[in-house]
């Protein structure tokens, strides 16, 4: 069911948030029209996933191979054909190659922040980090814009936050799991799992005691938004913690071993399986971090042995599961790192940071599968004809999710802020 903006405001009656909402309403066209559009196309029910390949995956060794380049550039891997005619990717990604119609590729994304910190911030917000505005991450914007079940967090990050909600305020930041799932091991999520020695009964009894003791301002709840907000969030936290919904979604033991192994025993596979379960439960946005892509040394062995096979297995199983359950029609997925890697191989058989060219994968709701946008030159050094930026990538992602990238927020820095100021959606990738 679609909720009106009115109920959205009620769902969080604190001034900042209301102001932001009213601000976006006041911005008029953008939000109002968007809401109607969302209701018509069903985008108000959309969820999002960011698969973040932290460290900066080598673009020319994954999705943008250059078999014709000199040996010190092209590296050790050969391209293979995919199910999309003319599209070739790395030989170590055979499963993804077989289902290339499920996803689309953007080559030749370019920027100049070849530093993990600010590069990550840029790729996760679609805005260059600067001094005057602190931009929110994808998941924060989505959880600000899309409602979800009360007993589930809207935005979960596996395993750490990576960034925050910027001008939207901490309440739209992610809940981080704090750890990554390991095959066959019990899993705890910070804030959701009960600590050792705590039972649900004891937690309920504590909460009942707190409720009886929390009488300060009773009858004066209308006094102040802070007072009301504290009450409301306290109740919601209780729902969240006492309900089995989130805990069950996090419990990979509820999967068959066959399904679990289809994703793979490795951390990538298990993390992506958990991501799928969270989306199925109704979480609106999941950021999942897949680590170890910063291959300054021994790039090729690392990719061939440790990184690409689990990515191939986990990500293809993830797409397949969402597709089977019909969720690929309502879930937009972005797979990206913070930059690419140096075209020329360094003295340690590695590649270093390179922001002038990188690539990303988009899939799912709002995305036309099997497409390739952009390209890089013969040595994968820089984009050729149409350079795309992280801003364009973000605009495309938001557009696919049914969020107008041009929408404005009236943050209390005193001026309207455009969600993605410098980016334009890439039409070829959108449905």
């Amino acid at each position: 069911m679609h909720k009106s903006p009115h109920t959205m405001i009620q769902s969080g009656s604190v001034s900042r948030r209301t102001m932001l909402r009213l601000g976006s309403l006041a911005a008029g066209l953008g939000f109002g029209r968007l809401l109607q559009a969302a209701e018509a196309s069903g985008t108000s029910e959309r969820s999002g996933v960011l698969v973040f390949l932290r460290g900066g995956p080598s673009h020319q060794d994954t999705f943008d191979l250059k078999p014709g380049a000199p040996a010190e550039y092209r590296g050790e891997f050969r391209p293979i054909a995919t199910s999309v005619p003319g599209l070739e990717i790395c030989e170590h990604l055979p499963r993804l190659a077989r289902q290339a119609e499920n996803w689309s590729l953007i080559r030749g994304i370019t920027h100049n922040l070849a530093d993990h910190g600010i590069g990550t911030s840029y790729l996760l917000t679609g805005n260059r980090p600067g001094q005057t505005v602190h931009y929110p991450m994808y998941g924060s914007v989505v959880s600000h814009q899309k409602r979800g079940p009360v007993d589930l967090p809207r935005f979960i990050s596996i395993d750490e936050a990576l960034g925050d909600a910027g001008f939207l305020g901490p309440e739209f930041g992610p809940m981080s799991t704090g750890e990554k799932p390991q095959y066959g091991m019990p899993f705890r999520m910070r804030g959701i799992s009960l600590s050792d020695g705590m039972t649900i009964d004891r937690y309920r009894s504590r909460a009942a005691l707190a409720k009886d003791l929390d009488i300060f301002y009773r009858g004066l709840e209308s006094l102040d938004e802070q007072v009301r907000g504290l009450d409301q969030y306290s109740k919601q936290a209780f729902e969240l913690i006492s309900s089995p919904r989130c805990r069950d979604a996090l419990d990979l033991r509820l999967e068959t071993d066959e399904e679990s192994l289809r994703f793979g025993r490795h951390e990538y596979g298990q993390s992506l399986l958990m991501t799928a379960r969270l989306i199925e439960a109704g979480v609106r946005f999941v950021t999942v971090i897949l680590d170890q892509w910063d291959t300054h040394q021994d790039n090729f062995n690392a990719l061939a042995d440790r990184l690409l096979p689990p990515l191939d297995q986990g990500l293809s199983a993830f797409f397949e599961r969402l597709r089977q359950r019909g969720l690929l029609d309502s879930t937009t997925v972005l797979v990206t790192g913070e930059f690419g890697r140096t075209p020329k191989i360094n003295g340690n058989a590695g590649r270093d940071h390179w922001a002038r060219a990188m690539c990303s994968v988009l899939a799912g709701a709002g995305i036309r599968g099997g497409q390739v946008a952009g390209s890089t030159n013969e040595r994968a050094e820089e984009p050729t004809d149409s350079p795309w930026t992280p801003d364009d990538l973000a605009a495309t992602f938001y557009q696919a999710m049914g969020i107008d990238p041009g929408m404005e927020f009236q943050a209390n820095t005193g001026r309207p802020i455009t969600l993605i100021r410098d980016g334009k959606p890439i039409p070829a990738l959108l449905n």
């Binding site: 604190v14 001034s15 900042r16 948030r17 066209l29 910190g117 600067g130 001094q131 005057t132 505005v133 602190h134 967090p153 936050a161 925050d164 305020g169 901490p170 309440e171 930041g173 809940m175 981080s176 704090g178 910070r190 804030g191 959701i192 009960l194 600590s195 705590m198 004891r202 937690y203 009894s205 504590r206 909460a207 005691l209 707190a210 003791l213 929390d214 009488i215 300060f216 301002y217 004066l220 209308s222 006094l223 102040d224 802070q226 007072v227 907000g229 504290l230 009450d231 969030y233 306290s234 919601q236 936290a237 209780f238 969240l240 913690i241 943050a411 209390n412 820095t413 005193g414 001026r415």
Partner: protein, 809 residues
């Protein structure tokens, strides 16, 4: 409508004069709507005075239209006007029309801009001009005259907004306002029909495009008028006179603050809440002055103190002001305001941010005057007192050696404000200085005229130029020595022109006592003298070799400076009251007037007279009745949040939540230490290291990454509630609680034990003793618990999850 009629008459009178070209200096030129009422006439509209304001008022140069950075339909105007040259060439330049122009002087009515604006041809922006209206005629006559630029570029002196205030006692009342522009050459013109209007609180009053104000509810706000780059504001007050007023509470003798606050309350027919209880006072004072919850024995002895309440409160304030925690908490706040961020330093973020914090902390301990403290940041360079670069590097290195480190806080100046990567450009330095020390936001003027203030792009550009010579790197005379030392210490990249960042390897050398090479904040000598206007406060000539920041600091310390003292006074006030006299507190601008201008003026002037004494300011505020009021409302002040008729409950700051949690759970014999050991406190030395940790981030500790006080968030959120109810850190804190460990050793408890624990729990978490009903509920829970330790743990968990703990009230 009362005000409009006589004024129109007076306009008509002078209208005749204007047409006949006999306007005397003290006469007002009538409104453009009258003078350009006809399609033809002798007078040609002026580009600056009439054309640009009109297209601004029609909305043509707004963000959503041609003021957008990309323009619209190939037509681009400067956002909110004021770039007259660009706007003139845009209006008169080529276009995709039959004539290839936007205007056609030979046939004015067929001009594209008029065809579009009257919707004679398709216009995405809709119809903005009615055919035959004065607005159309004004543009028509300007075009017919050849679309001239302004006769002369004029500077506006002020706007005269009449009447001077609007005061009503019923919803639905209306009044029209008029605006006169007074130019620096004495020209005076009725510009009501060319001005833009706004009410700061639409819930109290609304205003239409013509300046007709309507009272929509009871309350107080301001009406703002904008014309050219001038802004004027008048108060709008609507009082419900029908409601009976409660008796004025029995207040202690009024301080000057109270006289001024009460004047305002009287004029609004508001009666303030009563004075808060001694327990509330102590908790509030302890939090606002020292960022610390009161200790349980402190609460007991304060409540038991037989001295009259007024006396003991003043004694307590004086005592709190002397505590090291006061300096720690306010150093945290000043680090907020000045932008001390560990991730933004050009090198060694954490270390330099800690030095920054400690440097301020030490000055607050000594109660250094604010103007001196600010000057010692603003005028900082790496080298001090004529040091050579080698001496500077030796001294800086010595601060890092492990054996008997030199004291950074002993430096006179603190240069780290200038070495942040985020202020490497002069424009960013200008923004940061304006925000940190003037409480003004110049960001808007970086790209376009400030929509709500006088600032133009030129103002911003010229102010930024002051900072061009301020550099971080190596002065010319340091390069050779730097490279030599870099070579000697094996520093990679040390031969670069501007040096390179100190890396962990170098830092390790410094720890052993070696001297390593340091970059420095320095002033690059300028070759010629340059004269720059200083934010519309006069021109300043900077001689070659002079530090251009010196005239800025002199200007800040001039008692007539309109912002410097007000900015800090207002921020301190906002920190104590949860709302500024100007709010948001770091947005001093003409369109955001103070709720109580007399109060801000007096407090700022007195603060200057008292030699910028921050302790005086805090004492003056916290000893006032206004600050000591209860947060419980009476019949008439429930909705007041900006006139200080009651305390506004506010969530504890992040650092106070963190420290408070530890304090509530600490062992009986560590109660004092857990509060006074600043090295282990979030408001103390951990302030920097805790930045970015989940426990403080979730409660809104600011990253200090952007120039806005709004980064510190004190709104409640779901994640905070989840944190307090179920985070492993809270669980661990309960697990490791020294106090609970004492209790867990007991297998049973006497009624006496239980009552003592309950008293102690409430004293620690809420700063008061429990009421009987609370005690009974707690006893009931303890009786049902499987052990005394488990029962008390539940009780503490519950109290930490109450609003009373989480709010400063």
């Amino acid at each position: 409508m009362l005000h409009r009629l006589p004024f129109l008459l007076c306009c008509c009178a002078s209208f005749i004069g204007a047409v006949c070209g006999r306007v005397a200096a003290d006469e007002t030129i009538p409104a453009a709507s009258r003078r350009f009422h006809e399609a033809n006439g002798d007078e040609v509209p002026d580009f600056q005075r009439h054309v640009v304001p009109l297209i601004g008022r029609l909305g043509c140069n707004g963000r959503a239209c041609h003021g957008s950075f990309q323009g619209r339909g190939g037509f681009s105007l400067s956002l909110f006007g004021y770039d007259f040259a660009a706007d003139h060439s845009a209006l008169t330049g080529p276009a995709k029309s039959a004539t290839g122009r936007r205007i056609t002087p030979a046939s004015p009515a067929s001009s594209l801009i008029l065809q579009k604006a009257t919707l004679a041809i398709d216009h995405e922006g809709g119809q903005l001009l009615r055919p035959g209206s004065w607005q159309q005629h004004l543009l028509l006559r300007w075009i017919a005259a050849g679309a001239p630029t302004a006769q002369q570029e004029r500077t506006i002196r002020s706007l005269d907004l009449q009447p001077k205030s609007l005061q009503w006692s019923a919803v639905g009342r209306q009044a029209a306002v008029t605006v006169h522009a007074i130019w620096s050459d004495g020209l005076r013109e009725d510009v009501t029909c060319l001005s833009r209007f706004r009410c700061n609180n639409d819930a109290v009053a609304s205003v239409d495009a013509e300046g007709l104000v309507t009272a929509t509810a009871f309350g107080d706000t301001h009406l703002i008028a904008f014309y050219d780059n001038a802004v004027a504001a008048i108060p709008v007050i609507n009082i419900d006179t029908s409601r009976p007023l409660p008796a004025w509470p029995a207040d202690p003798p009024a301080a000057t603050i109270d006289t001024l606050v009460n004047q305002r309350l009287n004029s609004l027919q508001l009666v303030p809440s009563v004075i808060c209880t001694d327990a509330e006072f102590l908790r509030r004072a302890s939090i606002d002055l020292t960022g610390t919850l009161p200790a349980s024995d402190e609460v007991r002895s304060f409540l038991a103190d037989p001295d009259p309440s007024g006396n003991k409160r003043i004694r307590k304030i004086d005592e709190l002001l002397q505590r090291p925690a006061m300096a720690a908490w306010w150093a945290t706040k000043l680090c907020d305001f000045t932008g001390c961020n560990p991730t933004q330093q050009a090198e060694l973020g954490q270390e330099l941010a800690e030095q920054w914090y400690m440097w301020i902390y030490e000055r607050l301990r000594q109660n250094q005057p604010w103007d001196q403290l600010a000057a010692d940041i603003l005028l900082a360079t790496g080298r001090e007192n004529g040091q050579s670069w080698s001496q500077y590097s030796a001294q800086t290195s010595a601060c890092f050696r492990e054996h008997q480190p030199a004291s950074f806080t002993g430096r006179r100046t603190m240069p780290h404000f200038w070495s942040r990567r985020t202020v490497s450009k002069p424009t960013d330095k200008a923004l940061s200085v304006a925000h940190a020390f003037l409480g003004i936001r110049l960001q808007c003027a970086e790209c376009h005229k400030h929509p709500w203030d006088q600032w133009t792009k030129d103002d911003f550009r010229q102010f930024s130029r002051f900072f061009e010579p301020v550099q971080y790197g190596l002065a010319a005379d340091a390069l050779a020595e730097y490279q030599q030392l870099a070579g000697a210490t094996g520093m990679r990249g040390g031969n670069a022109e501007q040096g390179t960042a100190v890396n962990p390897e170098q830092l390790a050398r410094a720890k052993t006592g070696q001297v390593i090479p340091w970059r420095e904040v320095y002033i690059k000598p300028q070759e010629t003298a340059v004269t720059l206007p200083l934010l519309r406060s006069g021109d300043v000539t900077i001689q070659p070799g002079q530090d251009p920041r010196e005239p800025i600091v002199r200007w800040l310390r001039d008692p007539q400076n309109p912002w410097f003292a007000r900015a800090i006074v207002n921020r301190v006030w906002a920190s104590c009251f949860h709302v500024g006299i100007v709010d948001p507190p770091d947005d001093l601008n003409a369109a955001n007037p103070p709720s109580n201008p007399e109060l801000l003026d007096w407090l700022s002037a007195e603060f200057i007279r008292r030699n910028y004494d921050l302790r005086w300011l805090l004492r003056e505020i916290t000893t006032s009745a206004a600050w000591q009021r209860s947060s419980l409302p009476n019949e008439v002040n429930l909705n007041d949040r900006r006139n200080f008729s009651r305390a506004v409950p506010r969530r504890l700051p992040a650092e106070v939540v963190y420290d408070g949690l530890r304090q509530v759970l600490a062992a009986s014999d560590r109660q004092q230490q857990v509060r006074s050991d600043l090295t282990r406190r979030a408001v103390g030395h951990l302030s920097m290291r805790m930045a970015g940790t989940w426990a403080t981030h979730v409660f809104g500790k600011p990253e200090r990454a952007v120039a806005c006080d709004c980064e510190r968030v004190n709104q409640p959120s779901l994640l905070q509630a989840v944190f307090l109810q179920n985070d492993p850190l809270v669980h661990l804190a309960l697990e490791e609680s020294g106090w609970l460990q004492e209790i867990r050793k007991l297998h049973s408890a006497t009624a006496q034990n239980q009552n003592n624990w309950i008293d102690e729990a409430w004293l620690r978490a809420c700063g008061r003793l429990p009421a009987d009903s609370e005690r009974q509920r707690a006893l009931q829970h303890l009786a049902a618990a499987e052990s005394p330790g488990a029962g008390l743990e539940d009780l503490l968990w519950s109290l930490l999850n109450t609003k009373e703990f989480l709010l400063n009230h």
